[in-house]
Amino acid sequence: MLFTHCTYLRIVNNTSSAMRITVDETDNFDWDRDGNSRPDINFQNVSIGAYQSKKEREELNALARSSWYRMHITLSNGNSINFRNDQYDARRPNEREYRLEGADASKYSAQQLSGNDLNTFIIRTVPIELMLIITNKDKLKNKYGQYEFDLIEAKIKEYMQALDRTGTSAKLVYIDDVISLSPYLLSPVNPDSPQDIKGLIDNLDEKLNPRFFLILGGHSIIPFHELDNPVYDPNNPDLDPDRTVFSDNPYASKDNDYWLPERAMGRFPDAASNEPSFFISVLEAATSRVKNAKKYSFGQTAIVWNKASQVVFDPIKNVEDLKDSPPIRTGDVRLEWLNKKGYLYFNLHGTEDENYPNWYGEDENKNYCVAFKPENIREADVENAVVCCEACYGANIVDRGVNNALSLKFLDRGAACFMGSTKIAFGQSTPPISCADILVQKFFERIKGGFTFGDAFLKAKEDFIGESIATNAGLGLPRALSAEDLKTLIEFVMFADPSSIMQEEE
């Protein structure tokens, strides 16, 4: 005679699609061997309509310690999910989110409520997050040609499908295209006017309320805003020579005050050349959606800034120390220092001259050595790395290509994120850190904290303001922001998928 425990299994379909269920991975010993009260029989090939539920009696062998089964659910929209569960859960209290598996697991949630011999799973659709993708059809076509544009558009669509599979629905909007804008009752805007493009983004935001925003293309496709440089002195233009600052801050701001944006926004730049392979490779890398990278890091600093850089490096420091330049020069940088590192940090000099894409060290005798150059990553495996650079003009991509902009070179090599400055960036050589040092440190902290790249960039700017005000006050300065603090807020840009998250591996 078989002693059994009487339990119940209840599946609640709280989605808008009907579901069809199959069950396997059961062990005959665990169940009511001769009867029908087991899920591989009474839930086998069962259909549950949208917003309906089904409850069945499941007899558990009292001599078994567990009664496992796997339930496969195919929804009428074509999605499929599954989960593996021990029906003995019915005899113990649980109220938790249960892990779903399968191709579409990220789109659904399963809440388990169990106890008093009843085991309930409530299946729900995870709210879809929306990403608004902005680019310019005519400028892409004119730059690359119709055939190449078709290729680029196909890659954008593949990327959007990849987003969809992870629960982010994407809408592609061509700012210059009547058909693309007509569903939103909006008209094309002047593609050379950053202010008009911002107005369009504001209108789309109001209608669609996207969670993320992505700009496709560099300055020649969707122009940066050129904001007044708070440090620039028109009477002394040779001091800080940057009259204006290239910035995406206004696009990311909901209002016309652009110092502290609210939108989680990133940009996939293209290169100056009218050959599309770089842009396509960036889209393909984003389509993979897998942003696993080693938790190890690499950092390189001008030796005169070592003390401040140590503070910035601290959130990502892992095994290796910062490399000082000098003595480390470009020829000394070893591939193994860079390969498979999740976090790369650079605090070196840079220049706006397109013929000198290198980053430079500085010693106490004011020798400026070549510390890092594009050739250093020609063979490096920096796939999925987060790269932050404080070098002046480190993220200047205007009229630049892969071989004369290290930011583009890193993206070409598969880096997931490049964050840097379009213009001269400030900092102190010794703690307390300030300006670019604070922003990069906060960005690393937020990335390490599991934020999406877009949210990390937003939060880092918010953190930057609080920290800068406190630091200034601690130095005996006014409890407010200096001109170079304000410049820092607008000059740093992020080239990354704003919805991506860094997932660390050992």
Binding site: L239, Y356, Y368, V370, F426, G427, Q428, S434, L475, A480
Partner: protein, 93 residues
């Protein structure tokens, strides 16, 4: 008695000889600056700006240096001092 600009330049020059000797002989531009918190930032972060913010004096030094490969790198250093000439902050690139 408040220090003159010439006094400030001399005091900062002594500091630069140690910290940034390549700028020690550069003639600085002295300006009065007001720290601020933009109104939108105050609103978004629920911050309040102090009722009275003292102006600070900033001595800015600019120079183009040449790297070993010939690249011209603009160097800017901003030294912020109080009315007694005490260096409160020095930022640069």
């Amino acid at each position: 008695m408040a220090l003159t600009d010439e006094d400030l330049k001399k005091m900062v020059k002594d500091y630069l000889k140690e910290d940034s000797p390549q700028l020690a002989d550069v003639e600085p531009v002295i300006s009065e600056e007001v720290y601020t918190i933009p109104e939108s930032v105050q609103r978004k972060l629920d911050l309040s700006i102090p009722k009275s913010i003292k102006k600070v004096k900033v001595l800015t030094y600019g120079k183009i240096v040449t790297a070993e490969d010939g690249a011209k790198i603009p160097i800017v250093t901003r030294v912020t001092v109080d009315e007694d000439g005490k260096i409160l902050r020095s930022t640069g690139n």
